[in-house]
């Protein structure tokens, strides 16, 4: 990979030692401060007109996800139909950003969504990431060949936590290479990283290695996405843009189930990195049940009365 970085970053990736020095040289995160900041942004009052806009934006940002062992081509096709037209009773409801499936179901997804919606595949021995690099690369190649235009890879948290940053870095670079034209989202699995300092380091590591998106979680570990974690990742993205001019996306995945939560995240995005990031190209929600709640809120705003789960499809 031949990304050129400005002077401030140029030395960071030259060797394992310099990488470690750079990551450990990042300023520490004030955990209490981050939690308080995220909580205070969550209390913003969003009025009806803005809320209606935010709900439509959030729908357009959803990566509609099914990552279960019991997934079948039929289930994926049904979900894809929903991705194209989330609310069959209301054609004005926008389609979602992408569908997110396991690699072997990419073809089934692509056959339904065509070019209208992105198809993201989780790869690299998702969700644990415990496989050899060769297997991870093959997994990725397989998904790309089947038609995935976004790859969600997991980092090797074991290596990251034991300080082998160079190994994690090299893996991301290698996966990015086989992705070809497909967008690479790097899953940090922040629930396993333990501290916000680690979240900041992992975010920078992934961005330096060439990630197009950094993503909070697999959704298989609790806690998944939390507002403080998203805040720290967005700050990293903001600082990276200030240094390099490159815009990196953020995907909050797992644990976001209500429109209220989704709107809180949008407020955090807007207040941290600005409204340039309020687009599906740079911010996503990885979710399965969130979409139904967004649709119910949308129906509520359109009809003037509360909607219910009987009026949306069950995935």
């Amino acid at each position: 990979m031949t990304v050129t970085f400005p002077a401030a970053l140029a030395g960071a990736t030259t060797s394992a030692a310099s990488l470690r020095q750079f990551l450990h040289g990042l300023p520490g995160v004030d955990e209490v401060g981050a939690a308080a900041r995220a909580a205070s942004l969550g209390t913003r009052s969003v009025k009806a007109a803005s809320k209606s806009w935010a709900i439509d934006l959030a729908i357009r940002m959803v990566d509609l996800t099914t990552l279960e062992g019991m997934d079948s081509p039929g289930k994926v096709r049904a979900m894809c139909a929903k991705a194209l037209r989330p609310d069959p009773t209301d054609p004005s409801a926008p389609p979602v950003a992408a569908v997110c499936v396991y690699g072997d179901l990419v073809a089934a997804a692509r056959s339904v969504v065509g070019d209208s919606v992105h198809v993201a595949a989780v790869a690299t021995a998702f969700p644990s990431g415990r496989a050899s690099l060769a297997v991870k690369l093959l997994d990725t190649r397989d998904a790309v060949a089947a038609g995935a235009d976004e790859i969600d890879m997991v980092i090797d948290r074991g290596a990251f936590l034991s300080g082998e940053y160079q190994r994690v870095f090299d893996e991301i670079v290698a996966v990015k290479e086989v992705c070809g034209g497909a967008h690479l989202k790097v899953i940090l699995e922040t629930g396993e990283l333990r501290t916000l300092d680690n979240v900041r380091r992992a975010s920078w590591l992934a961005m330096l290695a060439g990630a197009d998106f950094i993503k909070t979680s697999t959704g298989k570990v609790v806690p998944a996405a939390t507002p403080p974690v998203a805040l720290v990742m967005l700050e990293a993205v903001r600082d990276f843009e200030a240094l390099t001019g490159r815009l990196i996306g953020v995907k909050a995945a797992g644990g976001i189930r209500t429109s209220k939560d989704a709107i809180k995240y949008l407020v955090i995005v807007n207040e941290t990195v600005g409204d340039r990031w309020l687009t599906p190209d740079l911010f996503r929600f990885g979710a399965s049940t969130l979409l139904n709640d967004l649709l119910q809120q949308r129906q509520r705003m359109a009809s003037g009365h509360y909607s219910g789960p009987d009026y949306v499809t069950i995935d």
Partner: protein, 288 residues
């Protein structure tokens, strides 16, 4: 010796088995029958109503799937726990309704007995309301009552305990979950009842009690698409009752009409149970 500092009471709502404050943060003053201050009660908003419906919907699966025998036991347990708090209920009724002498204990006893009466119906409803139907074909055909779902009820305004129990018990005995708005001016017996419900094996969310103004909350719940039936018993304003029935029609809810003058000392009948069940008919092939 110093006089003891009074413990002032600000009661809360009962939603999903917990006691939250109103989302709006509002409270209102509850007065006794002579107009003296008794306590503060939470003034529920439409969002509290929405949260209560969510809680009711969440509990409906487990409650309706419980065996009828088990539901009967739970209702009986409510009567047991109420019995232990008899004196508190008597004091609540006396201050709220201004009843004197033996009338207050009589009302409390009647309320407890009503739980027991409905508890007995839990595993007998299907026998009485269900049936096998003669059909011209090789089928075994039978009809059984099933719970309607989430029922929103307005409790009687005057009869703050007996009326309340007479509204709730027939709704939940068949497996429905309910959101009930207590008497606006006399909410304390209902609040004491929530403390009983919290300790009597009722699944959290099966009974949710809101205090406040039905005229404010009910229009939102009457039009709420996730509510399956309304019990308007305690609505005293005919214009509001009409408005609510119209709103309910949009989503084809079952409605039990307003009955502000019902005499709660009359023996209960199956009418209220029957009002909140759906009849399912099954055709089952014979022979083979």
């Amino acid at each position: 010796m110093n006089e003891r500092v009074e413990v002032r009471k600000t009661y809360k709502l009962f939603v999903g088995g917990a006691f939250p404050r109103s989302e709006s943060g509002r409270t209102y003053e509850v007065l006794d029958f002579e107009g003296d201050f008794l306590a503060n009660a939470a003034k529920a908003s439409r969002k509290d109503g929405r949260d209560a419906v969510l809680a009711a919907r969440k509990s409906f699966g487990a409650w309706s799937a419980a065996t009828a025998y088990n539901r009967g036991q739970v209702l009986y347990r409510i009567a047991e726990v109420m019995e232990g708090r008899r004196d508190q209920f008597i004091a609540d009724i006396a201050s709220a309704e201004g009843v004197v002498g033996l009338d207050a204990p009589r009302i409390v006893d009647a309320a407890i007995d009503r739980w027991v009466w409905y508890a007995g119906w839990a595993d007998k409803v299907a026998q009485v309301l269900g049936t096998t139907n003669p059909v011209a074909g090789p089928y075994f055909n039978f009809s059984i009552p099933e719970p309607t779902g989430v029922v929103v009820a307005v409790a009687p305004q005057a009869s703050s305990l007996l009326g309340l129990v007479s509204v709730i018990a027939p709704i939940i005995v068949t497996g429905n979950a309910c959101v009930v708005i207590a008497s606006t001016e006399r909410p304390l017996p209902a609040i004491t009842l929530t403390e009983v419900l919290a300790t009597s094996d009722v699944i959290g969310g099966v009974i949710n009690v809101l205090t406040g103004d039905p005229a404010e909350i009910m229009p939102w719940l009457a039009s709420h698409a996730d509510v399956n039936a309304l019990d308007l018993t305690g609505i005293t304003d005919p214009a509001l009752a009409t408005e609510l029935e119209i709103a309910a029609a949009d989503t084809v809810k079952r409605v039990r009409r307003a009955a502000p003058d019902e005499d709660w000392h009359e023996p209960a009948t199956l009418s209220r149970i029957r009002g909140f069940v759906e009849t399912k008919t099954v055709w089952h092939p014979l022979g083979v």
